[in-house]
């Protein structure tokens, strides 16, 4: 529980930003891109939105340092799960399965 009270206007501004980003992410999906382009755009905007929610709505900005550690750890561990699993998937088929290779 934070002792500092954020003014209500801040929350409304953040909501407007979130709505704008939502419109933006839908808008990007109408731009013809490679599959990877849609993934990168969608996830980047989502990350931005999630950051706003965590920092302002969830009061992470005014939370103790240990809360930050929890946030960072959860992001880091999801990234571990992704990166090391995909260390396998992204290298599939890179070596031919036949003699001499």
């Amino acid at each position: 529980m934070s002792s500092k009270i954020t003014p209500a206007n801040t929350y409304i501004v953040v909501l407007i930003a979130l709505l704008v980003l939502t419109v933006l992410t839908v808008g990007v999906s109408f731009v013809p891109l490679q599959p990877i382009g849609h993934v990168v755009a969608g996830l980047s905007i989502a990350a931005l939105k999630a950051t706003l929610v965590v920092l302002i709505f969830m009061h992470a900005l005014h939370s103790p340092r240990i809360t930050w550690c929890v946030i960072v750890a959860s992001i880091a561990w999801v990234l571990i799960l992704f990166s090391l699993t995909y260390a396998d998937y992204l290298t599939r088929g890179s070596l031919p399965q036949m003699p001499g290779h």
């Binding site: 088929g93 070596l95 031919p96 399965q97 036949m98 003699p99 001499g100």
Partner: protein, 349 residues
């Protein structure tokens, strides 16, 4: 009497890989053994030397030395990295089959092993291999995951459904060795065992010609005609699909600008998932053969494409009878001969 009964402590060492693995094992035993003995000795020595004696006071404080702590942090680290590199070298070697490997096609199913040799021999739960020649076993499963394990050769590979994996080995001792399934696969998992028979080269040659009804490539040719592959993959002008001559082992260019090596897995994928990778310059018109063609037939096709050289594609007349003689089999790597064929014959089966 199986060879492996000779020694109860170590399994027979019957392949080139086995020698590498065992050497690494001895090294690890020496390193880990000495560390283990050192720790054990120190613990026993301390326990005796510093046992509590009646009337003894409180022991003095020993101040931990940071240098010592860093010493036994960093030294093990470098030893471990050394072991890692050596292990990786053995693994990479066991991963890459030599170019002149003889192909053998293996299928695991609950609960048996089936093998096909390029010369047409088929076996169940027995695998005959020649002495002193590298052999690559291509593996797939018809149901669940199995694992192909020959302790005497120190080779081990999981056998997955809908996918190819492979192992290779070069036998160094004639004899009979165990073949185990080591990935749990159901009720009779323990019964899914077979025998690997290593024969002298000459014996192997005569065994190959003993019962074979015709080469695997010839059988693949029949499959090729049976499924009407020829009606599109023909060598005539105006064919609807690329001709497959000289394809195997060469670079196939795809219509997305990439290129792949046309290996066993690529051929299998192109038969079952034709839309996954499409040869450059061709339309995606091929239907999938998933559910129609068996793993054995795919192996036969692979063997056929391996042997298929320029000008050998059958004529498109579908009633045309297959030749009675065995087409020549190219067991060496089809590399240099196909450089010109490559540009004209990107493939799509």
């Amino acid at each position: 009497m199986l060879d492996s009964a000779k020694s109860a402590w170590f399994p027979p060492e019957a392949s080139t890989t086995a020698a590498h693995v065992d050497l690494l094992l001895y090294f690890l035993l020496a390193v880990c053994g000495s560390v283990g003995l050192l720790v054990a000795f120190l613990m026993i020595y301390f326990c005796i030397r510093y046992r509590r004696r009646p009337g003894a006071g409180r022991p003095a404080r020993t101040h931990a030395s940071h240098a010592l702590e860093w010493f036994w942090t960093i030294v093990p680290f470098f030893i471990f990295m050394g072991i890692f590199v050596w292990g990786a070298v053995v693994y990479v070697d066991a991963y890459h089959a030599p170019p002149d490997s003889i192909p053998v096609y293996g299928i695991g199913k609950q609960w048996m092993w089936k093998f096909q040799h390029p010369e047409g021999q088929r076996e169940i739960n027995t695998l005959h291999v020649p002495l002193g020649r590298p052999v690559q076993v291509l593996l797939t499963s018809e149901d669940v995951i199995h694992s192909f394990f020959i302790p005497a050769f120190r080779v081990h590979m999981d056998v997955l459904p809908n996918r190819y994996t492979s192992v290779w080995f070069e036998a160094t001792k004639p004899g009979e060795y165990h073949l185990f399934c080591s990935q749990y696969c159901g009720t009779n998992h323990a019964g899914m065992i077979g025998t690997v028979v290593v024969m002298e080269q000459a014996d192997f040659e005569s065994w190959l010609s003993l019962h074979a009804e015709g080469s695997l490539a010839l059988e693949g040719r029949k499959v090729f005609l049976k499924y009407r592959c020829i009606s599109c993959h023909s060598a005539t002008a105006g064919a609807r699909a690329p001709v497959l001559e000289g394809l195997y082992g060469n670079i196939a260019r795809l219509n997305n600008g990439r290129s792949v090596v046309a290996d066993d897995a690529y051929i299998r994928e192109s038969i079952l998932d034709p839309g996954a990778k499409i040869a450059a310059g061709w339309e995606n018109i091929m239907p999938t053969f998933r559910g129609q063609i068996s793993e054995e037939e795919i192996y036969a096709l692979i063997s056929y494409f391996r042997s298929l050289q320029r000008g050998e594609t059958p004529r498109r007349v579908e009633e045309y009878p297959p030749p009675t003689s065995t087409p020549p089999i190219n067991t060496t790597a089809p590399d240099s001969s196909a450089t010109e064929g490559k540009s004209t014959a990107p493939k799509e089966p």
